[in-house]
């Protein structure tokens, strides 16, 4: 029987983590994502599934705990919000470099600096363009509903373990804080240590007599060796770009104009689109679900027929750069965004839309 609950996006993440057999969560409090760890502590899964939940002394410690757990082949995760995620970037780079699977959650708030606890999407660049040092990529899922917050935990782990790569749920503060109905995922038992060894033969769970010692490292001092590592990573990233793009589109088939937006901005654009359709404008919406890999191909296809694109973001305009790359000059790509925790209304988006494309 389906269990329908009413809860916040952050709470949904916590419940989904327990239910999908997560082995460990390591975090540090920060608004607007603290409910993730608070819910976990309240649920006390160490008594039921055996999941470890630990409040670390900092985000730096938390991400390195994730490194330690992931390097054993365990299913481990952390969550934070923007300033905390900035602090984690060195560790994220190490995890990507050592090719470890794990789940990261960033419930974004406005920056730069300490900024505001109000929602934002201004960590798009940090997440999909690098953030930490070196050439690496994060598989990035952008939920727009509480249901997706719950569903993307399992999906994120699936993708992370399929590619031995960190996966990120990049949510904005609205999705983290709002309450909606959610069907929680079914319970999946945690893997036994034997199952972990089988799934992750590279894991450092202690040597066995039938294999050489396992070493988890991202270090290679020789240029040729390090370049080979990079080439292997890049080849993996090309496969992910080929196979794992997810997006949702509405009314794009006959659209003259296409909104491109993710997370809660996509919901606002959905409302604007409906109103504009009623006014006779053929408007569609493309919502990237994976921000990396980005739905570049689909946007390029739509650009063959559409007259223009408009990216709407809770930032100064970050994803719009990827939309422009995809459209490649074929038609105009415009933008509207709000910053600092402000959210555009549907009316505001409609007005900007008409202004951007010179429509009456």
């Amino acid at each position: 029987m389906e269990e329908i609950k009413l809860m916040k996006g952050n709470e949904a993440i916590a419940h989904a983590a327990i239910r999908c057999g997560t082995d460990g969560y390591f975090g540090y409090p920060i608004t607007p994502q603290s409910e993730v760890m608070e819910t976990l502590m309240d649920e006390a899964p160490w008594n039921t599934t055996g999941m470890v939940v630990l409040q670390a002394e900092s985000e730096v410690a938390a991400i390195n705990m994730v490194y330690g757990g992931a390097a054993c082949g365990k299913k481990v995760m952390t969550s934070s919000s923007s300033p905390g995620m900035s602090l984690k970037q060195e560790g994220v780079s190490y995890i990507a470099g050592a090719e470890l699977p794990c789940l990261l959650v960033n419930v974004m708030r406005g920056g730069p600096g300490l900024g505001t606890i109000q929602p934002s999407q201004a960590d798009y660049f940090q997440t999909v363009k690098g953030g930490g040092h070196g050439d690496y990529r994060l598989i990035t899922l952008a939920p727009s509903t509480v249901q997706e917050m719950a569903d993307f935990v399992d999906l994120g782990f699936e993708l992370a373990f399929r590619y031995n790569n960190p996966a990120m749920i990049l949510a904005d503060g609205i999705v983290g804080q709002m309450m909606e109905k959610v069907v929680l995922p079914p319970f999946k038992p945690r893997r036994t240590n034997d199952e972990v060894r089988k799934q992750c033969p590279w894991g450092t769970m202690g040597k066995t007599d039938d294999r050489e010692r396992n070493i988890i490292t991202s270090l290679a001092l020789e240029a040729d060796v390090m370049e080979a590592t990079n080439n292997r990573l890049q080849a993996k990233y090309r496969i992910i770009e080929e196979k794992e793009v997810l997006f949702e589109e509405q009314n794009c088939e006959d659209a003259d104009y296409v909104f491109v937006a993710f997370g809660s901005a996509a919901r606002l654009c959905g409302n604007a689109m409906d109103a504009l359709r009623e006014q006779g404008f053929k408007v569609g919406l493309l919502r990237p679900i994976t921000l990396w890999p980005f739905p570049t191909k689909r946007i390029a296809e739509l650009a063959q027929k559409a007259k223009g694109f408009m990216s709407v973001e809770l930032s100064a305009g970050q994803m719009v750069e990827d939309v422009r790359l995809a459209v490649n000059g074929k038609v105009p790509v415009t933008f509207h965004g709000r910053m600092g925790g402000n959210i555009p209304s549907a009316e505001e988006i409609i007005e900007k839309f008409k202004e951007n494309f010179n429509l009456k």
Binding site: A71, C72, T217
Partner: protein
Amino acid sequence: MTKQDILKPENLVYQKTKLLTKNVMHYCPGCSHGVIHKLIAEVIDEMGIQNETIGVAPVGCAVFAYNYIDIDWQQAAHGRAPAVATAIKRLLPEKYVFTYQGDGDLAAIGTAETIHACNRGDNIAIFFINNGIYGMTGGQMAPTTLEGMKTVTTPSGRNHEMNGYPLKISDMLALIDGTCYVTRQSVDKLPAVMKAKKAIRKAFENCQLKKGTSVVEFVSTCNTGWGMSPHKANLWMQENMTARYPLGDIKNI
């Protein structure tokens, strides 16, 4: 009995430490790291816990520790080994987990991780190689560098007005309720080596006794960074380092 019979490996008194790999060590001749590696490998072998032990290597000259001891290893970011080890131990509580860290790694950039792993009383062993300098990056000042000691970032000697004081971090760690064993050892002479080995064994044994964190500091030499011969470095260490960092148990419960 022929000479050949007598020369069988099992009849020879001294053998290569079983758990040390055949890889040629990158350490400078005379460096303390090599001796400490050997002792750790011997203890793991003697306790029969090769398959039960996971090591966490630091950033520092010992970053390649994983090339030398035949166990599963993780290489941690600079200073973060105690956080990494915490997670391994929590997720695999039946295993023996240890970190191996230099003074820059443990007492500068990783101070928070060190203190908080100790404060949680995580049942891990921390092996702390205090050579009073940043060996790997070319001999810069470490938090443990002695006053007056010349390094490439304190060319006229460490001066507390500018650089603060040599940090006695093991004494600090002994004050924390989560530690059960904090000791300071050296590997400059045979009796010291024997004592140091006992301390390593105790630290490993504590991992399964749920008593808390064990810290073994090794007052060490970095003859290259100090610009001395190995012998002179040992003498200098005995005279100067142990005055600031006296050897012996600081806490043992």
